[in-house]
Symmetry: C2
Subunit: 189 residues, 2 copies
Amino acid sequence: MRVLGVDPGLTRCGLGVVDGSGGRTVRFVAVDVVRTPADAPLAERLLAVGDTVERWIERHRPDVVAVERVFSQHNVRTVMGTAQASGVVALLAARAGLPVAFHTPSEVKAAVTGEGRADKQQVTTMVTRLLKLAEAPRPADAADALALAICHCWRGPMLDRMAQAKARSAELARAHRARLAAAAKGVSP
Amino acid sequence: MRVLGVDPGLTRCGLGVVDGSGGRTVRFVAVDVVRTPADAPLAERLLAVGDTVERWIERHRPDVVAVERVFSQHNVRTVMGTAQASGVVALLAARAGLPVAFHTPSEVKAAVTGEGRADKQQVTTMVTRLLKLAEAPRPADAADALALAICHCWRGPMLDRMAQAKARSAELARAHRARLAAAAKGVSP
């Protein structure tokens, strides 16, 4: 499974591609950071981020796009731009026919370091080690995008199984209700 | 000038098209509200909003798209979805080659009612009157989208003149600095 991880942002948007094996092994494919000037109009900045994401989807052909789930605890101005960029990324992934998964920063940190409140340095160190990189990816947004992709390689299959189990139990519950309703009418279905 | 106003949102996204005459007269063209189910995956909801915005751009051929500027004072969960939807709207407008303008809720209220803290009912009443509608647009998101479009018809030309004046004064300042630099070197430019 090939995952494109995106740490959304307007000033810096991290992109990282990782191949997962199904097990714990992950392989580095590519990493980069798109930057857009803070004084450019918002629509232009979103265009630049969107064009790059689309180019990466075409070039690297991921099976899924994993995006950082944005929270609004942080700086209000920044978080709005980050949310707008994440909306653009999710739209373009969906338009390319790819599933889009969201992971919170603490899910990502917990997945790669074992600790949901790890700092940026710990995340970078673990990403460098897990992907056997010769040097640490810089800036932090690059490491974060790779961490997201790794997190999805490991959490994705579990989330899929959970979604399947949930769908199956909903199906069983529906069948059960149908049998009850039929029994109430004195008919066997 | 034809303006597509968008009150971004996932649960309800208002769309309103208005023709401006250059003066105070505004003419109603179209209004609608896109709804997406709260339990649908985020990427699907953004796809639905994006597809409708694109269809409206093709059908109504606006000259500009005006979008409500999102603030994060409100409910945190809602505002993230709203920001993501607004990012999608801005991206698709820009991809269609259209300028995108943002107006704050109080700019919109001040433009249509004369009062930046007007309530939803006052906005709806003024929109109905200004556009000579037989009945008030419902829900509030529909009226808000039309209010945004009216606001842009009136504020847009002023904002363009301000941007031109700003560009001209920057140009004059550049020319002035060039003359000073040339004079310092003892050369007349």
